[in-house]
Amino acid sequence: MTEQKSLEINPKTIQNLLEEKKAQIQTALKICAHCTMCAESCFLFMTRDQDPKYMPSYKFINSIGTLYNKKGRVDRDSLNKIRDIVWKDCVLCTRCYCPMGIDIPAMIAHARNICRSQGVVHEFDAS
């Protein structure tokens, strides 16, 4: 399938998915001290000229964080931006280290689930 179906975004589905991991998402967003100690643990950050957008904290705050804070009421553009963060800027290698013990890969994976539920997926075979 190389074309995405044009579906309306269903906030209720997103809210249900967020509800499944509500406690973890809430804790992760609250506990993140924005200390940036996770940055060097991401090889993408280290090899892309230390661009802040590859920091694990940046990634989960701007993907699952956006979805959670907007309570799932996002438009397709936002979802596309989130798709690019969680699929292009992260490979879910789970090497990321957080001094607070936040499970960042779980947050990214959950954001991927939410995107998929709305038909927003990464095109792995795009030319």
């Binding site: 406690a23 973890q24 804790t27 609250k30 506990i31 993140c32 001290a33 924005h34 200390c35 940036t36 100690m37 940055a39 060097e40 230390q50 802040p52 957008k53 920091m55 904290s57 940046y58 705050i61 280290y97 001094p99 607070m100 013990g101 936040i102 499970d103 779980a106």
Partner: protein, 244 residues
């Protein structure tokens, strides 16, 4: 002025302590019920792994066994592998300035209020007992060190690109709340500006910090230790039988 002082130094202290203690207990409870699940996937066991019998603390050779284990940690064949813990590839090696600054900051944050002479005099008057006190020069110095560390954090938030990328107003407010008790205390002790006002601000700042601990990102005070002991990952101290 005196009535304000009576109020903030009386009922408001009780209120903030109750919120702090109840909030902490509430967050600990949430950790064990809502936030973390008990281990669902088995931990990988390398081939040839044999589970050791539990050592305990009070059985016959318990203490000797434990002392032998500690001695063994330093033994020649284990030394290289164990010293790798202090290798330069951990966060202290990669970020020495930030790591040491935050360590010193947190030590001063927790220790200073407990052993400041002024606090102990008040405690003694109120409860009859108190902690021992350190010299005022020492606690004054520790407060100053803490303020310098706080200034370093502010510098990072403003001028370090990667920190600025994820900084919001919330972070500045939290830094202010953390530093305010120490700043106002420092100013009050040195009687800079009006002492009466400064002391009331100091008490209010301390109470504000107490009530924000369980319900903002300061909750890392509670969660840090829970996570290190109870959540299985390569950094946990205990056996870690929970996962996020």
């Amino acid at each position: 002025m005196h009535q304000i002082y009576q109020f903030v130094g009386g009922p408001l202290v009780w209120f903030s302590l109750i919120v702090f203690i109840a909030g902490t207990i509430h967050q600990i409870h949430r950790f064990f019920t809502e936030f973390s699940q008990k281990k669902a996937t088995p931990i990988y066991k390398p081939p040839g792994f044999k589970k050791q019998p539990p050592i305990g603390w009070f059985s016959k050779n318990a203490i000797q066994t434990r002392l032998a284990m500690i001695k063994d940690w330093f033994s020649k064949e284990n030394r290289t592998r164990n010293m790798a813990m202090f290798r330069a590839t951990n966060v202290f090696g990669i970020h020495p300035v930030m790591s040491w600054t935050t360590l010193i900051f947190h030590v001063c944050l927790v220790i200073t209020p407990l052993y400041v002479l002024a606090h102990n005099i008040l405690l003694d008057e109120a409860l009859g007992t108190c902690f021992f006190s350190w010299s005022e020069t020492l606690t004054d110095g520790m407060t100053f060190v803490l303020l310098v560390c706080g200034a370093y954090f502010l510098y990072r938030r403003l001028f370090v690109r990667r920190v600025r990328a994820i900084t919001t107003l919330y972070d500045y407010v939290m830094l202010l709340i953390a530093v305010a008790p120490f700043l106002t205390g420092f100013l009050a002790y040195h009687q800079i500006y009006d002492y009466q006002t400064m002391v009331i601000l100091h008490i209010l700042a301390g109470e504000l910090m107490l009530i924000t601990i369980p319900y903002t990102k300061f909750a890392h005070m509670i969660y840090f230790f829970l996570q290190r002991f109870f959540v299985a990952n390569e950094y946990s101290f205990g056996k870690g039988d929970r996962r996020w």
